[in-house]
Amino acid sequence: MRRIWDAPGGVHPPDNKAQSLTSSIGQLPLPEKLILPLTQHVGAAAKVCVSVGEKVLKGQKLASASASISAAIHAPSSGWITAIEERAVAHPSGMSAPCIEITCDGEDRWIECMGYPDYKQATPPQLRNLIADAGVAGLGGAGFPSAAKLERGTHMPVDTLIINATECEPYITADDILIRERADQIIQGIDIISHLLGTPKTILIGIENNKPEAIAALNHHCQGSGIEVVSFPTKYPSGGEKQLIYILTGKEIPSGHLPADLGIVCLNSSTVFAIKRAVIDGEPLISRITTLAGEACDINRNYEILIGTPVSHLLAQNAFHPELCSRLIMGGPMMGFSLTSSDVPLVKSSTCILAPSHTEIPDDDPVQACIRCGLCAEACPASLLPQQLYWYARADDHERLQAHNLFDCIECGACSYVCPSNIPLVQHYRSSKADIVNARTAKATAAVARERFEFRQVRLEMADTVREAKREARRIVTEKAKITSPTTTQPSGSSAADIIKAAQLRGTARQASPEQQRAKLERTLMAAEMRLKEAQQRLLQATNNASVDQQAQQLASVEAAKRKVEQATQRLTEVSH
């Protein structure tokens, strides 16, 4: 018998699991329309690879993984793509997100599936690709893409594979019923993952002792396979990844680390079932088991629902009484969130739809002051100090919140559950976590802005210096020119008389010696006479054989040349006198 560790904290809410376990897994009639959000998983939204109006077959890929942490989406039934647009999705905000809408044709015709029953021949990367192509994401509620999780297992040798069949939240029985009915397929899935991870030494299935039938089914199929079924006392939230690992191995995952860092990979039992289907049958993840529970529905049961089925379709099939229902919850009563509308679709991570009556889950009582009773600290499975965190969250003291390890909070709701003052502790933590993350991004963007601002300052300064240098260079050049021609130097003094005197001086200086002037004027006279002769010749030609206009032109040029000659002669006589 394996040693079981006792995880700290925890609470014992009434489990309410019997209601939905009275009948086997049911099938719903095909809904008219299926709505597939592009983000049903943790990570980047899938990239659409079909267009509106296209006919698709069941199992056909509609959107592919767009990043290393992302998951593909497939058509859950055959039909036409009637819209790719924003639709209300299952989200606590009630906001809408991009979705693909399929109008079913009712034929439910499969695309050709290529399975690998002899998966032992395949290499781990091939198997990982198969799982990634099938769009498998964690079905336990978190929706982390499984291929990415198994990829992380490759960085370090994995010595322990843990299958999480704990299902610790009240009301939810999806894993329980799946194990009861299809334990053999789950074991096949475990074999595939074990092969993919290089046969880990220890393979454990962790399950709470409130599921005797499921434990019996697992024990029956695990005989001689080396897989160990470990049952442990029921306590919420034993199903948290870190809590389960501690219960089964006694190892604590350090803050900010992943199980893979300790050589542990932990997968939900439903995810293992989906992996078996993806690899052996070649069927992508298009359906899951979802529990419908709560007193506002006459029938409480588990259904194998197609991903994308509207919640209203599920409710309509089970005699739902809206007037009795206090609120619709997706997920369990501890960690789930209220839906703002029943038109939203079920997604890969929808474990349960809870429609409780007003007596079952009454409205929240008014919040009262914290009386510092300390019950929350006793209940916290992560060994945090919820009360301190509450005060710091109220004071927006981000530094102290982080110092008290706010980010190790798994938001299980155990503290809120035990709080006698009805303080919505988890909501405070969620809000503070978002605030801190926002502050971090704001800081990062501010750093970028500062960098760009400073770069711009430097650039402008450089441009200024360059301009200044050019100006300086020009100044030096003019200065030099002034020095080489000293005649142009400015005389000292600045009065009007001085300036006029300087100008007169410059004027006389410019006049060269009489000999030079005379030589220059003689040259001018000679040139003018030459030009006069040429003009007279052209005039002669023009009078013989050109139009009246041209004659007039030539006459004018002869006149101009004559004037020039006269001027030159006059100047020359002036100078010689």
């Binding site: 969250a393 503070s432 926002n438 300052q457």
Partner: protein
Amino acid sequence: MISLLTDNTMLAALIALVGLGTLFGGLLGYAAERFKVGSDPIVQQLDDLLPQTQCGQCGFPGCRPYAQSIADGDAINKCPPGGQSTINAIANLLDISAPSLDEEHGEEEMRTIAYIREDECIGCTKCIQACPVDAILGAAKLMHTVIAAECTGCDLCVEPCPVDCIDMLPIVKNIDQWQWPAPPNPLDLIATTASAMQEDAA
């Protein structure tokens, strides 16, 4: 030498004290040079807290000059883009009480980014010259556009635009940016109003 010292204790004490003083003085002098802090570290810390919008609403040409001015004793409530949270953070750093925002410099508003109506842009490059973080792209007589991711929402490009084609638009929140709202402060609720509020909600 030893005997001289033992005989004249006064002299020995004097020499010892002067010697020690010189030694430690030298050490301190060396340390002051060796571990000299180049810029004022408080200015850097203040600059880190400011939002780096570079809008100049505080009256200084950028966030760092304002940080310098705060370090020199200026008021800490002149930064509208940072708002009350920045004032609180600075007050926390300087260990002084946090005043409310000085409305002379503007009001705390929702963060916006600039958007150029590209059809109307005449390509004058005036906004490009005004942008403190080089977030506007374009060339003379060609259409300009804002790199949304780099825009700090400082408003400085709006005024120089001769054709008024720049709008400051609030950032649209989508489902990825949604965050859980903080629960109402229980001190704001007394039992009677709380039940009244629940009735309203229902």
